[in-house]
Structures are given as structure tokens and as C-alpha cells.
């Protein structure tokens, strides 16, 4: 049985339909990531789950209880906001204690829980400073600690890492995953970053224009995209329409093909093959991305950045091949 269930949820703002008849089930202890382009309705959906926005219709069930009209404080949730929403006049420790004080817990218990949480997120030395002197990453950890200290049944994240630079984002992702492993909370994480979704999520719900295009594990969504939109958004696939397939590979197909960049192999002739010209070679850290052109169609090819690999010059003609099992046929 799922821990969070969204049933037939709909929301409109004036004439704009944000989402309609949305269903989603999140099992207990799972980090579900809502991923989609800006304006697809993912933040509004998160706010509906949080109780900060009322749905027009449908139900929100948390731990089996209907929470559709319950105020946020009765839902047993925690939330990490996009811009953290830390209280600037309170110290880090006071920010963490704020929620516990509302529960009228004894001072000693509050002090102990704050200390334990500061220890957990590695901010013990920053307990007495105010948020304005913290770095972006530290603020994010305070925001996370402030949500976690309430021991919520469900933790919501509204693009919490969008304002951070890549290096800090990577570190925080790892820290978030560690905390989730240790504490086992159920999470709903909103992001527009596909890579972040694949790394953090146990379950991924790809959203576009107010509907779910695909819900599944990261591997399912990445390896078996349900349609063109998911393929283009999540996997950075090469998506070829039937006329392009005919031009590039000389094969007829009624469905579009989705091919991962890493499935395109240069200098091999096993599977479907073609001759391509190299347009550009870019280094993406451990990956080398080669942009190819075949019969007016551009393809991306990713290969491991091996130190012993021979770099092929731009403009060179090469043969490329794709194994048939690496081609995903898309009907939609």
C-alpha cells in the first residue's frame, strides 16, 4: 500500500489548467522526484500536497488519511523551500527550535533535539550565527535540518538546490541521500534538472503540461522512455522520426527511434550502421561527447573519456553503428 496517494487531483488558476485528474502513488520510505520543465505544474502539485494550495477536486491521502482539506500543520509534513525561507532574525539553532517551540516541548528536549540535528547535518559550529552569514550550501542544510527536526512523515522539497552551484549541489545531493538512507523518510522532490532527478529519485514522475508522461524507477524512465517527450527530456536521447531513420540508416519504421548517446558507437559496424561527419567534440568530464551529422540529421555520441583514446579530428568521416537492442521504438 502506498504511503502517499494522489487521486484525480485537478487545479486551475483562472483560465489556466495547471493539472487535471492527476494520480500518483508513493510507497513508504521512497524518494519520489517530480521532474519536468518550468511551468509544468510540479510546484503547484507539491503545494497541494503540502496544503499550501487547495485543489479544485481530487484527494490527497497521507498514511491512509484523507488530508485534502487539512491545514499544513496537521499533515505531518516538512518542507524545504526553493529559497530556504529561513528566518533571518533567528540564529541557526533558533531556526531549528522554532517548530519544536510551537509544540510546547520542554526546553531541555528542544535543546537536545536541536543539538542532535545540528550534529547530523554538520552545523554544530554554526549554531549561533544568523542565516545571512552562511553559504548557500549551509543555508540549505539548515533548511533541511529545520524540516527534519519535526520528524515529518513526508518531506517535500521545492527545487531546493536550484540556487546552488554545481559542486555544492553534488555534495548536498549525496548528503540528502545519506540522510534519507539513515532516517528512511518518504520524500517528494521537485526539480527541473533531469540529472538531479535520476541521482536522487527512487521513483521518478515526469511531468509536462499538467500531466504525468511516465512514472517509474530511474532505470525504467532512462532506459525505456514512454514517449518522445520523456526521451527528449530525461535521457538526452537522439530521437529520430521515421523519415530521418530512412535517410540516416536506410531502414523503414512506423515508430520513432530513441537512441541513447552512449549507444552510438564510432568505428564499429555491428547492428544498424551509417557514415557520419564529426561536427564537434566536447569534453564533459568523464564523458566525451561527439556531435555527428548524418544526411542532414544531427546525432550525439557519448563515450568514456579514456586517457588512451585517440581523439578524432572535427570534419573526419567515420562509420557509426547502433545495436538493435539499444534502439527504443516510440509510438507516441
Amino acid at each position: 500500500m502506498s504511503f502517499v496517494t494522489l487521486q484525480k487531483l485537478s487545479k486551475r488558476f483562472g483560465d489556466a489548467n495547471i493539472f487535471a485528474d492527476i494520480d500518483l502513488a508513493i510507497p513508504r520510505g521512497v524518494m519520489c522526484v517530480l521532474v519536468g520543465p518550468s511551468g509544468c505544474g510540479k510546484t503547484t502539485l507539491l503545494r497541494v500536497v503540502a496544503g499550501l494550495t487547495d485543489p479544485d477536486s481530487g484527494r490527497v491521502l497521507i498514511d491512509g488519511q484523507d488530508m485534502t482539506r487539512a491545514p499544513p500543520q496537521r499533515r505531518g509534513i516538512g518542507m524545504v523551500f526553493q529559497h530556504y525561507a529561513l528566518f533571518p532574525n533567528l540564529t541557526v539553532a533558533q531556526n531549528l527550535a522554532f517548530g519544536l517551540q510551537q509544540l510546547k516541548l520542554p526546553r531541555e528536549e528542544i535543546r537536545n533535539r536541536v543539538r542532535a540535528m545540528l550534529d547530523l547535518v554538520g552545523l554544530m559550529e554554526r549554531a549561533t550565527v544568523r542565516p545571512r552569514v552562511l553559504s548557500g550550501g549551509q543555508r540549505q542544510r539548515v533548511a533541511l535540518a529545520r524540516a527534519l527536526i519535526m520528524e515529518p512523515k513526508l518531506l517535500l522539497f521545492d527545487e531546493p538546490m536550484s540556487a546552488l552551484d554545481a559542486q555544492i549541489r553534488k555534495r548536498l545531493r549525496e548528503e540528502l541521500m545519506r540522510l534519507q538512507r539513515e532516517l528512511g523518510f518518504t520524500g517528494l522532490f521537485v526539480t527541473h534538472d533531469q540529472e538531479e532527478a535520476l541521482v536522487i529519485g527512487d521513483q521518478i514522475a515526469v511531468m509536462q503540461e499538467g500531466r504525468f508522461l511516465q512514472v517509474g524507477t530511474p532505470l525504467e524512465v532512462y532506459n525505456r522512455p514512454a514517449n518522445r517527450a520523456v526521451a527528449r527530456f530525461i535521457g538526452d536521447f537522439n530521437v529520430l522520426e521515421p523519415p530521418e531513420i530512412s535517410r540516416v540508416f536506410g531502414q523503414e519504421s512506423s515508430a520513432a527511434w530513441a537512441i541513447h548517446p552512449e549507444a552510438v558507437r564510432i568505428g564499429m559496424d555491428e547492428g544498424v550502421t551509417a557514415r557520419a561527419r564529426i561536427l564537434a567534440v566536447r569534453l564533459l568530464g568523464s564523458i566525451v561527447r561527439t556531435e555527428l551529422q548524418v544526411a542532414g540529421v544531427q546525432l550525439k555520441c557519448d563515450a568514456l573519456n579514456r586517457p588512451d583514446a585517440v581523439q578524432i579530428a572535427v570534419g573526419t568521416e567515420v562509420s557509426i553503428s547502433i545495436l538493435p537492442q539499444n534502439i527504443r521504438h516510440l509510438k507516441d
Partner: protein, 259 residues
């Protein structure tokens, strides 16, 4: 170096009239010379023994602090409520707070007299209440403008939402988070309100006049007599404003740091 010269020059230009008035308050005679020819406490003693002086100080303090309390109670919740919950109303409030300054003082005073003369069932003419309530609309702008500037820099909706999820009422978030954050604007509002009420003459003269003489009305009376006595009164006025402002700033500053 040049900075200090400029700052010193500006400070001197600003403070020189105050020093001149203070010197005149203790001068035996001052005409045709840079400094007084002699000094005396006679004028100070004379004014301190004048019963009108203590009454005027008392009246000014009652009116100033009274207007300050009412303006604070009316303005601060209104500014916060409009900003947090009624953004549409906020635009109207912005126009409304400057309205008293768009109307000539005499017109507003006549309006207040008609309003509180019993035409609408409320009779306040001749009492300090009419002056007190007359100052309140003037003082709202002094809270609205600086507090609104502070509020614009804060994500208040996010604070309220974060508070709700943490189990706090909106009132608790406003009291513990938003209000301390807008404290600088609030302090400016308090000081400006107090200064306005304690130094105002036009409304005081038109609305209450001799029936409730304030420091400014006494100054007007003394202006036709001894210049030395008037200087003592003005110096006393400066001291009262300086002390009251310092107290307000200290108290507000402490609250700000405590928050």
C-alpha cells in the same frame, strides 16, 4: 581628510543655530558681538518657575506619546495585513497615507473641527483628543513608507508558509520573525511620529489653541516677549526631543538585538 572637512562643515552648519539658541538662553546680553557679553541662569530659572512651562511640556508629551500609541496600534497591523494578505488594498493604502499631506493644513483642521464638533455624534473639540486623533492620519505615512521598504525586501509569504508547516500561527510568525525584521522601519516610524507630534504648531493652534497649550503654542506666546525666555524654551524643546528619541532608539535597538 576631505571627507572629514566636509562632514565637520555640514555638522557645524546644522548645529550652529542650536548652539546659538542655547547661548542666547543663558546670555545676559547679546547684540553686536560674536559671543554674548555675559552669562546668567536668570532666564532658565524664570521659565522653570513659570507654571505654563511645565503644563506645556506635560501637554506636549501626552499628545505626542498618545498619538504615537494610537498611530502604532492602527498603522502597524494595517501595513502588515495589507502587505501580507491584501496586496490589492495595499495600492490604495499607499495613496491613502499621503492624502493628509496633499490637503492644506487649514482645510484638514477645519474638517477635523467639523467632524468632532458633534455633527456626527462625537464631541472632542477643546480636548486633547481632537489633536491626538488629528495627528494619527499624519503619522501613518511615517510607519507605512519605511516599514513597507523593509517588507519589500522580505519573502513574507514564504515565511508564513514555512511557519504554517512548522505548526506556527501567522500571528506567531509575524510577531517573532516579520516584525523584528522590519524593526528598523518601525523605529524610524516611531521617531518620526514623535517628532511630528511634539513639534507641530498649525494643528495644535487651530484645533486646541489656548485650551490645551503645548510647547509650540507656548513658544508662539513667548515669541512676542523676551527672546531669552523663548531661547530657553526652544533649548528645552530640543533636549526633550533628543532625550525621547534616544530612549526610543535605545529601547527599539535592544528589542531588535534581542530578536
Amino acid at each position: 581628510m576631505l571627507d572629514w572637512v566636509v562632514v565637520t562643515f555640514v555638522a557645524l552648519v546644522q548645529i550652529l543655530p542650536v548652539i546659538a539658541v542655547a547661548l542666547n538662553a543663558v546670555a545676559t546680553d547679546w547684540a553686536g558681538s560674536i559671543l554674548p557679553t555675559g552669562y546668567t541662569w536668570r532666564w532658565v530659572e524664570q521659565l522653570l518657575h513659570d507654571p505654563r512651562f511645565t503644563v506645556a511640556i506635560w501637554h506636549s508629551l501626552v499628545v505626542s506619546f498618545g498619538a504615537l500609541v494610537i498611530a502604532t496600534c492602527v498603522s502597524v497591523p494595517a501595513v502588515l495585513a495589507a502587505h501580507c494578505y491584501l496586496p490589492r488594498l495595499d495600492r490604495w493604502l499607499a495613496a491613502l497615507v499621503i492624502l493628509p499631506y496633499a490637503v492644506p493644513g487649514i482645510v484638514l483642521a477645519v474638517g477635523l473641527l467639523r467632524l468632532y464638533a458633534g455633527n456626527y455624534g462625537v464631541v472632542l473639540t477643546g480636548t486633547p483628543w481632537i489633536l491626538l486623533l488629528g495627528y494619527v492620519p499624519l503619522g501613518v505615512a511615517f510607519f507605512y513608507v519605511p516599514m513597507k521598504n523593509n517588507l519589500r525586501a522580505l519573502p513574507v509569504s514564504e515565511f508564513l508558509e514555512a511557519g504554517r508547516i512548522l505548526g506556527a500561527s501567522d500571528f506567531a510568525v509575524l510577531r517573532r520573525v516579520v516584525l523584528p525584521c522590519v524593526m528598523p522601519g518601525f523605529v524610524v516610524g516611531i521617531v518620526m511620529n514623535f517628532s511630528l507630534a511634539v513639534s507641530e504648531f498649525v494643528y495644535a493652534n487651530l484645533l486646541v489653541g489656548g485650551s490645551y497649550p503645548t510647547l509650540q503654542i507656548l513658544m508662539n506666546v513667548l515669541s512676542s516677549g523676551s527672546g531669552h525666555l523663548l531661547s530657553v524654551l526652544i533649548t528645552a524643546y530640543f533636549l526633550i526631543v533628543a532625550i525621547a528619541t534616544s530612549v526610543l532608539l535605545t529601547v527599539s535597538g535592544r528589542q531588535d538585538r534581542a530578536a
